[in-house]
């Protein structure tokens, strides 16, 4: 256990190692650690920001969705209204058309009735006339009784 020049030798080792670590070990590692710290801090704040952005986006999305729903229901309502209107219109049209057709048919029927009646009248008067002629062939002078016959035909 002698004190000797080992003291000096060890001091040289010590100085060498401290110098080495001071130059080549501590600065790069501590720089890396600092940079990482900063990166993590930035990452955390970015995450915060992103969270806030997400919240905003979600709010916006739900607002948009609500808007769209409102619009859609409005459109559906409009469409329903329009459909009802169309149906009503179609009904009215159909009714009118039906009435028109009925009226037309009625008038045609009336015309036919009138024509038939006219013809019947003509035929009856002709028949009556021919019958009367046959009956009254001798007694009735067509000319002298012409006024009477005309009156009769008019009455028929």
């Amino acid at each position: 256990m002698n004190i000797n020049a080992t003291l000096i030798g060890q001091a040289i080792w010590f100085a060498l190692f401290v110098f080495f670590c001071m130059k080549f070990v501590w600065p790069p590692i501590s720089r890396a650690l600092d940079e990482r710290k900063q990166k993590i801090a930035e990452g955390l704040s970015a995450a915060d920001r992103a969270e806030r952005d997400l919240e905003l986006a979600q709010e916006k999305a739900s607002a948009n969705l609500k808007d769209a729903k409102d619009k859609a229901s409005e459109i559906i309502e409009q469409a329903n209204r329009r459909a009802n209107q169309i149906v009503e219109e179609a009904k009215d049209q159909a009714r009118a058309e039906g009435e028109r057709l009925i009226a037309k048919a009625q008038s045609e029927i009336d015309q036919e009735i009138n024509r038939a009646r006219e013809e019947l009248r003509k035929e009856v008067s002709a028949l009556a006339l021919s019958g009367a002629e046959k009956v009254l062939a001798r007694e009735v002078n067509r000319d002298s009784h012409k006024q009477l016959l005309d009156e009769l035909a008019a009455q028929l």
């Binding site: 256990m1 002698n2 004190i3 000797n4 020049a5 080992t6 003291l7 000096i8 030798g9 060890q10 001091a11 080792w13 010590f14 100085a15 060498l16 190692f17 401290v18 080495f20 670590c21 001071m22 080549f24 070990v25 501590w26 790069p28 590692i29 501590s30 720089r31 890396a32 650690l33 940079e35 990482r36 900063q38 990166k39």
Partner: protein, 302 residues
Amino acid sequence: MAASSASEYIKHHLGNLTYGQLPAGYERTCHGHDQTLNDATWTFACNAQEASDMGFAAIHVDSMAWSGGLGILMCLLFWLMARKASPNTPSGMLNFVEMIIEFIDTQVRDSFHGKSKLIAPLSLVIFCWVFLMNLMDLIPVDWVPMTFQWIVTTFFGWSAHEAYFRIVPTTDPNITLSMSICVFFLVIFYSIKVKGIGGFLGELSFKPFEAGSTLGKILLLPINLVLETISLLAKPVSLGLRLFGNMYAGEFVFILVAGMMGTWQAIAAWPWAVFHILVITLQAFIFMVLTIVYLSMAVEEH
């Protein structure tokens, strides 16, 4: 076993491999023959007496080699990791190194409030290096010395009892005191750098007993000077001897156990080694923390 009795075994294990200068006319018995040196000679000491006769002009080759080797290993590891260091996700060994660095950085920031590029790497080196040197204590006491003994007896013709070899540098007071003296010089350097020579000497002269008048200051000066100088000098001595004492005591127990129990030493050495893990870490930590504290005291006004 190299030594015939337990006490010789222990003494042998506590001797360093010493390379130094023996004076001219020195009579020695070495490598099995007697000789008288004609000139002052640089050689390995053959026994404890020779090692102490070499005086200051000697060096503990084993302590230097192990402390240097472990220091280089540590620097290499840190250097490799420092090259890989990046702000991205670390992995494997780099994680571990970063953990140590953060730990030391926290310690330094907690105690040292000045600005210094030196103190953090200094603490890193002290903690890791001292820890590694202490760690050698956990290698069974005979493994490396026996290997060394086998090599020198087989290839270099040494006698077995001349083969001194210790692998725990921190059980050598030269090593621990050298480091604490370096710290001491740093303390003085920082004191003078921050407070100036006047401030530094003033702190030595006018504290802890303070006086208002000039006469009082002069009267109190001698006692202040003595007290403060002692407390200043006590720092490196206690710092170095604390580490040395703890490690020496731990090593001594291992050697004692090995000397008494031989092959069966593991039964007693293992529990002691487990306990010693705590001691080696704690002593490395204490050495580092005290260094930081002394340096922060140096740069702060009292």
